[in-house]
């Protein structure tokens, strides 16, 4: 799936996918199949009219298959993208201005994730209609609810609060 129709004018399609937006953010080297989760985590669903392109299962040197997400007109901050490390630890973030990559950085594991995930424990106070934002501590190999203590190690993407 690729919505790249505006920019299909070069030979190097790989290069094209990564860089050809005017201003905004390119999230590259996302594990294959995780692009929609990346958008969900970032709370981007297109409803604000932002231009979003998604490339899925693109051949890659570093990962066998990778996804790419491009968001036109929005520069994502380090805090915003660090939460992606939970599902896309190899992701690289390219900030683009006037077609040039002006910043390039990796995602780093945050200590705490606020409000992105929802606790899978039905007995947890955060899933009981209280006016409280979820909070997870990031462990070496998983996340832990800051309220009930539940630890999740696998399929963290399934906790994404959509």
């Amino acid at each position: 799936m690729s919505n790249d129709h505006d920019h299909h004018d070069g030979n190097d399609e790989h290069e094209l996918r990564v860089s050809k937006i005017r201003d905004g953010t390119v999230i590259d080297h996302v594990r294959g199949g995780q692009a929609l989760n990346v958008l969900a985590i970032l709370g981007i669903d297109g409803s604000d009219g932002e231009e979003v392109s998604v490339g899925m299962n693109v051949p890659s040197d570093r990962l066998a298959r990778k996804d790419i997400v491009k968001v036109e007109g929005r520069e994502l901050s380090q805090d915003e993208v660090d939460v992606l490390s939970l599902i896309a630890p190899d992701a690289t973030i390219n900030i683009v201005r006037d077609f040039d990559v002006v910043e390039k950085h990796r995602v780093e594991r945050p200590d705490v994730v606020d409000g992105v995930l929802s606790c899978p424990n039905a007995g947890c106070i955060t899933t009981s209609g209280e006016p409280v934002t979820s909070r997870f501590a990031v462990l070496e190999d998983g996340v832990r609810c800051g309220y009930c203590g539940t630890i999740v190690r696998e399929e963290i993407a399934s906790l994404i609060d959509t």
Binding site: G123, I125, R144, C148, G149
Partner: protein, 343 residues
């Protein structure tokens, strides 16, 4: 330095038991107007300070009888628990204060769909501290974020019950000592919050912990994770009491609830295996101390009550001096907790 403060310091230094007073003072400094949510809050030194103070109060309750005259403790019990509630009420009244009680859930605004966050913010306006029992895990942590007065967790779902833990530790210390201890914790280890709270606190001591339960009611992996993070000296899980009973100094029994099992047969089969009677105890040490957070159903046969092993009624009694000590530490403004000086 003001004269009063100087005098107070001299008083500290002059106290016969200077070190204990000092430890209590520093714990008080940290606990004052703070929340009491989990047994993870306490270091070994903190626990010993609370237990020493509770022992002092137990020996002479009249010394603290007026310390909190005019103080109101708000009781919010979203689950029925007559006993824990009465224990807090007794403790507050024996400190000279009083309680305001939200009453049963059926008759309160909660029934009308009010959030916990709203309820605690309303009751906070009536009381100097709050005690919360709630069926959801993390309820006390969340509630404490909405209030300024000290909030005490009196049980949050399968989570924590730190005041119960303190009275359990007090009872263990009185009967067997907290170091060089081999303790068996038996029954519903999955949902039993008193177990989760106690197991964590015991990692502060040289305590070998044996967890005995049917497979379906084993400790949650989160609790096991925490115990290993603490480098607990010895953590072992068993499905039967038999092999470990002779080596135990303390056996802590909890109730296995019928509703945890899909059908009656399954329950009867399992529950029968985790009951204690005089036959069971033939293999036990003469010094074995048996504890239970109560209420019990049939986990411990009444014939045990009259033996030297039984410590569960004493354990329940200990709830009052221990909660008095904790409430005093949370509520006091002055420096001389425990009252050597009258500054």
């Amino acid at each position: 330095m003001s004269r009063a403060r100087f005098a107070s310091r001299v008083n500290w230094l002059a106290a016969s038991n200077g070190e204990i007073q000092g430890a209590r003072h520093s714990l008080h400094e940290r606990m004052r107007h703070d929340h009491l949510i989990t047994s993870k809050q306490f270091s070994r030194a903190d626990i010993e300070t609370v237990l020493d103070y509770a022992a002092e109060i137990d020996a002479d309750p009249s010394a603290v009888a007026d310390r909190h005259a005019g103080t109101l403790l708000g009781l919010l019990f979203f689950e029925p628990s007559t006993r824990t509630k009465m224990s807090f009420e007794t403790a507050m009244k024996r400190l000279g204060g009083d309680v305001v009680d939200m009453g049963s859930i059926e008759s309160s605004s909660v029934k009308k769909g009010e959030t916990l966050a709203d309820t605690v913010r309303v009751i906070e306006g009536y009381a100097d501290a709050l005690v919360l029992r709630h069926p959801k895990e993390g309820a006390a942590t969340m509630a404490s974020e909405f209030v300024d007065v000290p909030l005490v967790n009196a049980g949050d779902g399968a989570g924590q019950h730190p005041t119960q833990t303190m009275l359990d530790l007090y009872t263990i210390r009185e009967n067997a000592g907290l170091d060089d201890l081999t303790i068996g914790i038996m029954g519903d280890l999955k949902y039993g919050r008193t177990v989760h709270s106690l197991a964590y606190a015991l990692t502060n001591f040289d305590a070998h912990q044996h967890f005995i339960s049917p497979e379906s009611l084993q400790l949650p992996r989160e609790v096991v994770y925490d115990l290993h993070q603490q480098d607990a000296p010895g953590i072992r899980e068993h499905d039967s009491l038999e092999e470990i009973l002779p080596s135990l100094d303390v056996l802590y029994v909890t109730r296995i609830q019928r509703e945890r099992f899909p059908d009656e047969n399954e329950y009867q089969k399992v529950a029968g295996e985790y009951q204690i009677d005089s036959d069971t105890l033939e293999a036990a040490s003469d010094d074995l101390t048996i504890m239970h957070p109560l209420p019990r159903v049939d986990e411990i046969a009444p014939e045990i009550d009259e033996t030297e092993h039984a410590a569960y009624f004493e354990q329940a009694h200990n709830g009052v001096p221990v909660r008095m000590a904790l409430l005093d530490l949370l509520l006091s403004d002055d420096k001389a907790i425990g009252g050597e000086g009258d500054e």
